[in-house]
Subunit: 730 residues, 2 copies
């Protein structure tokens, strides 16, 4: 495979000054590289610093006046840089916490403080009532009291362990650690298992003193910090809970709140480790398995009880305006081909890191694109810079906008490039694998500010040191930021780009995510903000100016093949594991190995894992190889100008042929057949999700159906590629 | 291999009532099984309970009056059971802590308490001054003050990490966690690296609330508990530090204390986690790597400093009498063939678990053997029951005794069977692999008290559940109990037997190892004490009565082959790892992956790992296969009585042909060429130690020499086996 790629690069990619720029003729590539040099020279880190100070000066969650002011100010900035900027507003349901009560009623009394302390040296943390109280958005209202059960991270494997121990959470309140999954999975699973309430806390092992010195001495979470966050069932659908699949315009028809399927079934509240400690200390019952234990100075027991807790939550459920800023610069040659670039602007509190660090890099990128345009280098395709509102409660601003403009976006968008919080460290990039070649070329051409090698080489060095395959690959996207509606709902070719890994801390979604914290621990000189602007700037400019859209198919094929291999191996591994398990049940190994003085539920024989027929997908992949090999033999950058429009149109729509308009089982909103957030992981991606999740859940009939659906989708994708091949050749 | 063994059992082992008893004719086996039934029926768990109460009533470390009383009382008991019991006393150097001072002198002051608290419900912990203060025996005297450095477990890999971080312990005092190696390795390595003092503490992650509820609520170590223990350099030689290789009789010539090589070079003191916390909290410098961090509620930093500590230790270095109890019952037919059985009787404090739980099982076994003898079933070979003194400070009682009687022991002993602390759970057995078949047969015939399957089957179920090969194998012995002088110095066929795994706790070498603790958390009804007596009782009775000593050679061969394979693979793995490492140094991967704001020492190219010639050992093993195959074709149990004496004499001496009288490099006391405690692991075994440690230390010349030595040793062993074959055949 590597040899083929190497040949491919020898034959068809035009090296200019040692660089290759797919999508351009040789002279076009030279001009583009010249443009990028100018672009780099105009970037100014001081802007990022000044803008962050402004935008993160006060809390600006959805519906706040400061959030609206930020949106208006950004629109003004975009206009001053030559964009046609407007604010598109949706009316979205947003719960504000009216009443939050958590108390232990026995065997000791304890009333949770539920508030993080202001710290020395960071005035932002002293803004009192303006700071949004800590809570989980889209928790149900509730008033419950019950015995407590510690459920580790509250993910499926944890409930399997509880079952082994004979512990049932029915009628109980669970306490789960943050991490291990996206937070919304915890109350979702707890409710499925019959729990009546859910507490989520940040254990110092994952997110506190175990990781490093705590704020304000160091960057990590102190004992009072609480991570806010949405628990909306985003794996079912993101966006406004009352308007699934369509825009939350002022006059839209809305679901009754009680019918909204993405609000949790049970009340859920996040707490600090200071508040969690007395609760965990009061639990008895079995000692938690070793990999469940955190870093609090207690013996972690599971319960249930004797700790009893009372959890009472009331929310003010109001429609709030979500203000998306949309800044357009029509393309000089191809105004109906859109390059969209976005980052959200709303934050849970000040959000210096999340999202402002990414937002200001986007703005600086847009400013320089504007400046270059003024100087005569207006992009050929239309540039649309977006600042999304209401991302934090559930990707709401971007989702409503995509739902609002769905068909036009599908018709015109050539790429959506997303960013979010940014920090010091290593480039990470995820998205449509047809873009892997282009992203690689970009990553090879941006210099890492700390080491003076390319950001690609720095990342590869890190992979090498970790003992991994030292290639720069795109990751698959799950969810957790605004690419989701573009990629997984609308089937738009998408990327998500960021730097990080050397700016770790515990500020995420807390009152400590401030400018002060960012300057001390994240990217003090904004050099990685600039590196981000250079990376995404190159990506959008290449996409905007390319003669032929720089999509390639070998990396896509290689990647999707590995997904299929993984699932086939998963099935075989499950089968082998199940056989061993059943043999051990039959030979009484579990019983004999168990300590008879400890709780033990005699395990039962489980159903065998059948052999399943993957051949429809294997055959579809085999057919794709042929087409992709033929495409690799065509020099796309050299096709005559007369054919480019047609080829580009087909390339522009290509990602959509990987979607199916029936969507995934039980979640029709998710239409992409290659990438989706996991139904039981949340942010974590599941690739070939229809098949993979059916296998994981042992739904063999559904697995067979989804194999057929994926095979059809791949055939459809093959059809599109054949069309491109035909157009390019004729 | 399995098929061969199976055939072998079909052909030559005599099943009686479904059991196989190697070493006996068919009728001899039947009689032996009948005897074992009687033996089982006479065992009484109440004796263990009553005797433990007596022996563990007061502290009884070496030199105490209570220790002497225990010895005399035991001798009396043995006499009452029909043994000829005597006390053999040696005069051994034993340091008693006169002055123990540990204080932090800056940046804050803290004076370590150095004492565990008495607890509710356990009167033994309230014996005040009688409780031996916590210390590490054979620490040097010293008075040092310096900055502190946290060194994780203080093992070689930890110093490699420190080197990567550019941290030097020269002139510093190190603080290391217990665990990760035998404790004596920590000051030994620290001193080699230039540290001037060493503190060892029990982190709650390994040994405290992280593991379970702490004493007295649960079994685990509370914040004040301190593990005592020897830090004598036992991997160089155990036993009295002043009389290396010869007995510490009253009039023996002794080294000057300053010349004793097994006393540490620097002062070392163990402390509780209560005392460690302020010291660790005061450290700055890099945050410790993730796998170094414990469960204290602090951010683990490495230092050096700013914490400075002052450590002052003075010991009263006196010769103390160590009283070994030796109880002999001459064999009815073969009085010059000895079966020796031992357990130590000295404890750091009360030692209910360590060693009394094993001691009382040995006594009950001896009592019943005596009773059976009185009833006409006197063992054919001589039985010698031993209760060793001064095991805790460094296997002193047993070592001096072996050194005292070396040539007679080598001439007469057919087996040494050791036990030590015992608890509830799973059988573990280690020792000479020529005994694996016999131990398996015994393990198949003893019933587990909790599950009613054989102790072998229960152990196999546990292995299966852990995903390991479910065969009951003997482990290789390193050090840590009294088998060491027998096996590794004198080359006597040896075993170490015990139950455990379900009685975990934090009492080891603390004031909490009491009868009260044992009854609550270890083996409350002494059923595993009885299971131990049944297991070791069968072993000694079979060895005592066998027609032909039940040694087999296929399991030995299979096991030693795996050791050789491991070392060859280790060498290849080291080579491959080194090549990768050097490539990463050359490609600057480490530099590029490192966070430039954190300490980083540019790594250097390291020497390549050469290919080495293992063929001498491979050829010696190949020659052994031939002999062992031939031996497997002989029915040893059926050889005529006239030949038995000669064959048994050769079998009795066989293990000695695995020794080399020059010993291991730099530690001539260790003469066994297959098993030794690791020079840098302490208790942890190194198999084929001469070769393995040379490879690990990259001493390639020494590796080649040791390959030659081991090949010669294996040839010597082959010669002995050929002699046996010849004698058996003629």
């Amino acid at each position: 495979m590597r040899i083929l790629l190497f040949l491919c690069s020898l034959l068809f990619i035009h090296p200019v000054f040692g660089q290759t720029v797919t999508g351009f003729s040789e002279e076009g590539a030279a001009a583009q590289l010249e443009l990028e040099k100018k672009f780099d020279n105009l970037l100014n880190p001081e802007n990022l610093d000044v803008w962050m100070q402004k935008m993160a000066a006060r809390p600006h969650y959805v519906g706040t006046d400061y959030g609206r002011q930020n949106a208006e100010w950004m629109a003004e900035q975009f206009r001053s840089w030559g964009y046609d900027a407007r604010i598109e507003t949706y009316q979205v349901l947003f719960p504000y916490p009216k009443l939050r009560l958590l108390e232990m009623t026995g065997p000791q009394k304890y009333k949770a403080k539920l508030s993080a302390v202001a710290v020395e040296g960071d005035g932002f943390t002293r803004q009192g009532k303006e700071l949004l109280p800590s809570y989980n958005a889209f928790s149900a209202d509730g008033d419950v009291e019950a015995e407590l059960v510690f459920v580790n991270y509250g993910v499926p494997a944890d409930y399997e362990k509880l079952e082994e121990l004979g512990i049932d959470v029915k009628g109980k309140i669970v306490i789960a650690k943050y991490y291990g999954s996206w937070r919304g999975i915890k109350p979702k699973l707890a409710a499925e298992k019959g729990a009546i309430g859910c507490i989520i806390y940040s254990d110092p092992k994952d997110d506190g003193y175990y990781q490093g010195d705590v704020y304000p001495k160091g960057a990590f979470k102190n004992s009072t910090g609480v991570q806010r966050g949405s628990v909306m069932d985003m794996p079912t659908y993101p966006g406004d809970v009352l308007t699934p699949g369509y825009a939350a315009t002022a006059d839209a028809e809305r679901l009754d709140r009680k019918d909204a399927p993405t609000i949790t079934a049970i009340p859920v509240l996040p707490i600090s480790y200071e508040d969690a400690k007395p609760l965990l200390e009061a639990l008895q019952g079995p000692v938690a398995p070793e990999n469940w234990r955190g870093a609090l100075p207690v013996t972690y027991h599971i319960g249930p009880g004797p700790a009893r807790v009372h959890l009472k939550l009331e929310f003010d459920w109001q429609l709030k305006p979500a203000h998306n800023v949309i800044a357009v610069m029509p393309g000089s040659e191809l105004p109906d081909e859109w390059v969209i670039r976005g980052n959200h602007h709303d934050a849970w509190v000040h959000g210096a890191s999340d999202p402002v660090s990414g937002m200001v890099a986007l703005m600086e990128e847009a400013r320089v694109v504007g400046e270059l345009a003024k100087a005569g280098n207006r992009p050929k395709r239309t540039m649309i810079y977006c600042a999304w509102d209401a991302e934090e409660p559930g990707l709401i601003g971007s989702t409503e906008w995509v739902e609002d403009h769905m068909s036009e976006l599908q018709e015109k968008t050539v790429i959506y490039v997303n960013t979010d919080g940014n920090s010091r460290g290593f480039l990470s990039a995820g998205g449509s694998h047809t873009l892997e070649t282009m992203v690689n070329q970009v990553a090879e051409s941006v210099t890492d500010p700390q080491t003076n090698v390319s950001v690609a080489d720095r990342r590869k060095a890190a992979l090498k040191v970790m003992g991994e395959d030292a290639e720069f690959k795109l990751s698959a996207l799950g969810s957790g930021s605004d690419y989701t509606p573009f990629l997984q709902h609308a089937g738009i070719t998408s990327l998500n780009i960021g730097f990080g890994g050397e700016g770790s801390g515990g500020e995420y979604h807390t009152i400590y995510d401030t400018y002060t914290h960012y300057k001390r621990f994240k990217d003090p000189d904004f050099s990685y903000g600039i590196a981000l602007a250079k990376t995404t700037g190159r990506i959008v400019l290449r996409m905007a100016n390319a003669d032929v859209l720089p999509l390639t198919f070998k990396p896509w094929y290689r990647t999707v093949s590995t997904y299929l291999d993984e699932i086939m191996k998963l099935t075989d591994d499950m089968r082998e594991k199940r056989e061993k398990y059943n043999e051990m049940v039959e030979s009484r190994a579990f019983e004999l190995a168990a300590d008879p003085t400890k709780p033990f539920v005699k395990p039962e024989i489980k159903p065998v894992v059948p052999y399943i027929d993957f051949s429809p997908v294997q055959n579809a992949m085999a057919a794709l190889t042929v087409t992709i090999d033929s495409l690799a033999a065509v020099d796309m950058d050299a096709i005559p100008a007369s054919k480019r429009t047609a080829v580009n149109k087909e390339l522009q729509k290509l990602e959509q042929s990987l979607t199916n308009n029936k969507g995934l089982p039980r979640r029709p909103w998710y239409q992409h057949m290659i990438y989706a957030p996991g139904f039981y992981t949340g942010y974590g991606v599941k690739t070939l999700p229809g098949i993979r999740e059916a296998v994981e859940q042992e739904e063999w009939k559904e697995a067979a159906e989804q194999i057929r659906v994926v095979a059809e989708t791949l055939a459809q994708f093959n059809g599109s590629l054949q069309q491109i091949l035909e157009t390019a050749r004729n």
